[in-house]
């Protein structure tokens, strides 16, 4: 701070360091939280989303009973908790593999047991009531099976991966995901370069490095914390329009988890910055006392 020549460069480097730290945070959270399938899998287990999904499917088939006359047990007896859990988790693993360019996207689900159950019900019904098994019967059976597939598919797609794939979102992510790792390295290198440059600029008065690093970290923390605090305090994601319990819980928990991770990162930056400023002040006081 004593050297007027180094003041402006230090301010400029501090500004660069603020954004470079923000970028580092965003990249790290993206790699470790957003693009980590374990985040989704953990949410499914913690929030018991498989049971919620099964309850929703059961409710839907109960409602359908009013217009189809097909008892919900026809469907539900072939939809076990384990089968549904596998479907939900496989869909997520599959989506992450696709996004990371490791496999093709697949929507295939083994519905054999369900199809057999519906077919069995139709056949029994037709036999008991003397219903002729003509083309109309086959059409009805096919339509009922297709509808059941659609209901289960859409209910079990709790992170809406099919929609994201169909809308081309995954394709876009897939295209840029390769750059994310490079970008993370780039930001980390930028951080290191900025710190080294600050060190060189403050070489004559080395304790000033603590001041410049401190304010950079604090400002980076503040800028990063503003949106996080707004999102958390206003329960922003609770306003999500899809209110199917399993989808709502999956999405909002995922988004709040990202927000929380970023908040922790920014609070750590802020705390580190404050600590550096405190150390800088203490050293200055000691120096002043000694002189």
């Amino acid at each position: 701070m004593k050297n007027k020549k180094t003041y402006i460069p230090c301010v400029l480097i501090a500004i660069i360091l603020v954004f470079s730290m923000l970028g580092t945070g965003i990249c790290i959270i993206s790699n470790k939280v957003i693009l980590n399938e374990n985040t989704c899998i953990k949410i499914i287990d913690e929030k018991d989303l498989t049971s919620k999904t099964r309850n929703y499917i059961e409710k839907t088939f109960n409602e359908k009973y009013n217009s189809t006359g097909i008892p919900p047990e026809v469907y539900m007896n072939s939809i076990s908790q384990e089968w549904l859990d596998d479907i939900i988790k496989n869909r997520i693993s599959n989506a992450f593999l696709y996004v990371k360019n490791q496999s093709e996207y697949s929507k295939d689900i083994d519905f054999d047991a369900l199809d057999a159950s519906i077919t069995n019900f139709f056949e029994n019904y037709a036999d008991e009531n003397g219903y002729i098994k003509d083309s109309s019967y086959n059409d009805k059976l096919k339509k009922e099976i297709d509808t059941a597939h659609k209901i289960i598919n859409s209910s079990a797609d709790i992170f809406k991966t099919d929609t994201l794939y169909d809308r081309g979102v995954f394709n876009q992510v897939r295209r840029y995901i390769g750059y994310l790792e490079k970008l993370t390295y780039l930001f980390v290198i930028a951080d290191i370069i900025c710190i080294i440059m600050l060190l060189l600029l403050c070489i004559k008065n080395i304790r000033d490095i603590l001041y410049w690093l401190g304010i950079s970290f604090i400002i980076s923390g503040i800028i990063g914390l503003v949106p996080c605090v707004y999102i958390t305090s206003s329960d922003y994601f609770d306003a999500f329009v899809i209110k199917q319990e399993q989808i709502f819980t999956a999405f909002t928990t995922f988004m709040y988890r990202i927000t929380d991770s970023f908040t922790v990162f920014e609070i750590a930056l802020l705390a580190f910055g404050v600590l550096e400023i405190i150390i800088h002040t203490i050293i200055n006081r000691i120096k002043k006392y000694n002189s």
Binding site: M1, T60, T147, I215, I219, I223, K243, E245
Partner: protein, 238 residues
């Protein structure tokens, strides 16, 4: 003495710079962030507004009721002994609110009518599509219900039959002009119309699975009685 003063002012100057520098950097960084974010935000704001609506800031409960759906049961008066008016104002119900009761000599039970179509509402009564006109307004008021629950007797209606719709703002009498059967994909009877009609429809009963056919009755209005004091028409409870 002068030297001391100089040193003192230098020190206070340095202290001032130390305090002002972070504020200055913070303002610059905030400015840069706002400028950098403003364009992408404008681009995605429409999607954000669609995906996150403040009016829907409700967490789904586990009782099977869709979050954000505020079901309101009203006690609609079907008999009214006070004054009526031929003209009056309709009261637009909120989504999920029971606002009318349909009765007819052909129906054994009166059918409650809710504003909006939703699976939970279909469990409680007939539903009027919120995109159709309200009872008492010029246009097509479209009401539907499940065939094996609230509209199980709909197929009993014949041309000339009377249907009475008591709402929380008046009582309206309709006459069946046509009984219809149409495919689910055929929107002819549910699209907006210039005349004041009431369209009631349900699924055609089918022996196996859901039917693609719909049966219904198109009715014309024959009597309109608006309550002078619309608050007389209902007693609300949630």
């Amino acid at each position: 003495m002068n030297e001391d003063k100089k040193n003192e002012s230098k020190k206070s100057g340095r202290l001032l710079i130390s305090v002002l520098t972070p504020i200055f950097i913070l303002i610059i960084c905030l400015g840069i962030t706002i400028v950098a974010v403003i364009k992408p935000y404008n681009k995605i704001s429409t999607y954000l507004n669609l995906a996150f609506m403040d009016s829907l800031k409700t967490i789904p409960d586990t009782n099977g009721i869709t979050a954000g759906l505020n079901i309101k049961e009203n006690e609609i008066k079907v008999e009214y002994d006070k004054e009526f008016s031929e003209t009056g104002k309709v009261i637009r119900p909120s989504f999920g609110e029971q606002f009318a009761i349909i009765s007819s000599d052909k129906f054994e039970l009166d059918v409650p009518v809710y504003w909006g179509s939703n699976s939970e509402l279909f469990e409680r009564g007939a539903c009027q599509s919120s995109s159709s006109m309200l009872i008492g307004e010029i246009g097509n008021a479209v009401i539907s219900a499940h065939v094996n629950t609230f509209f199980s007797e709909l197929e009993k209606l014949e041309s000339g039959d009377k249907v009475e719709v008591a709402t929380n703002y008046g009582i309206f009498t309709y006459e069946v002009t046509e009984t219809v059967e149409f495919k689910k994909s055929n929107k002819k009877y549910i699209i907006p119309k210039d005349e004041e009609v009431l369209t009631l429809y349900t699924c055609k009963p089918d022996v196996l699975g859901a039917s693609d056919l719909r049966i219904g009755a198109v009715c014309k209005v024959v009597d309109k009685k608006f309550y002078i004091n619309s608050e007389d028409g209902q007693k609300g409870e949630q």
